[in-house]
Symmetry: C2
Subunit: 229 residues, 2 copies
């Protein structure tokens, strides 16, 4: 049963930590009042596909999601990764511009778009939050753009690791990467071989170390920051 006038989106106070795990520093920090369903997706399961009508607004509760596009020749570009607390899938147009898949087993909160629209129409604060959400996605896309246009492989990897560290609320420089090397490559506009080689070189340079394939320990943040500039 829905409230008569539900609060749909609420920007979180910076230091707050909600029970389903927000993404600190992600720039997409909202709480979604659990008025929608919370749905599990298996590893690699499709959440929505490109060109489908956008029926829902999503928020990652647990796991990780990739948003991507396939080019006609098979190349894949990952546009964004979504981590717990991140909102995604809301569109201004009438189709999804990207596909979305769960990277690992994930659970996702889902709210009907029609509900969002209705609330936004009545409540200018919610309308403003929608605008801010789009603006934050835009800011991320612009940063990503810059990375792809003007940065070398080492700089892309450095920026990626710093971003992941920030977004996953890294304790002591330990970052757990939820995605495979191929995903990182497709996000950074590189090949998997270049990602792998660059990792190896940076480990040799003691910039970071690999506690396992997916667990990174940042050792020289100054060096990473320098590459990130």
């Amino acid at each position: 049963m829905l409230h008569a006038d539900p609060v749909l989106l609420r920007r979180e106070a910076e230091p707050t930590q909600s029970f389903y795990g927000p993404a600190p520093g992600s720039g997409l920090r909202f709480s979604l009042v659990p008025m929608g369903a919370c749905i599990p997706f298996a590893r690699n399961a499709e959440i929505y596909a490109e060109d489908e009508p956008p029926e829902y607004l999503y928020m990652v509760a647990k796991g990780a999601v990739r948003s991507y596009k396939l080019l006609s020749d098979g190349r894949r570009q990952i546009e964004a990764f979504y981590l717990p607390g991140d909102l995604f899938g809301i569109e201004a147009g009438d189709k999804h511009r990207f596909s979305a898949e769960a990277i690992s087993g994930s659970t996702v909160w889902v709210v009907k778009r029609s509900v969002v629209d209705r609330v936004a129409q009545r409540d200018s604060a919610v309308a403003r939050e929608l605008w801010m959400l789009a603006a934050q996605h835009l800011a991320r896309a612009q940063d990503h753009l810059l990375l792809l246009a003007r940065h070398k492989a080492h700089e892309r990897i450095a920026a990626f690791l710093l971003e992941m560290a920030k977004r996953s609320g890294d304790a002591e420089g330990e970052v757990e990467l939820p995605m495979a090397r191929q995903d990182i490559a497709d996000y950074l506009g590189l090949t998997i071989e270049t990602v792998s080689r660059t990792f190896t070189e940076m480990v040799h340079a003691a910039t970071f170390s690999l506690r396992s394939t997916r667990r990174v320990l940042l050792r020289d943040r100054a060096a990473l920051a320098r590459l990130n500039a």
Copy 2:
């Protein structure tokens, strides 16, 4: 003297042509009721700078504008070009994320952000337009992203020319480029030499011809579209 409740933004009907020259197919087709000032900017004049507080919303009336960022090592990335009819400069945050300059002598409509905010608060249709605007900028940034991540020089040039043709409402495949080769290079993540060479090669391949340095005549749209895929 302002209206008590001015209509600030009005989406244009598709085939309409407003007197100050909109950008057909640009995805940013709005009319700005002339309640702000119309200001002239000389070639290369700064409209706003990165990190400045965003005080205004702008619309190109005549000319062209580039939005860009300078990296610490002097590299420049142009994030977007704005043509007549395009809205730009509105930010969700408290600083401009890019700088903006007039490419050629231009005139720009300017409305105070505080006015926009006030109107959006009262009028949910205007709030929605602001959201749509951000979403359209996002869509452009995403397309641009894809181009930079996954496309070769020829493909980038092809996409750029098709985009410019579409946005400038090309009559018979004639496109007037308002920007210099260096701007194109900095937009496409290439060097000026690569842009120049690629132009030359595509002219030899009869994909297009140059009526002058800045005037392009598209000859083989199929070839361009193929590269654009």
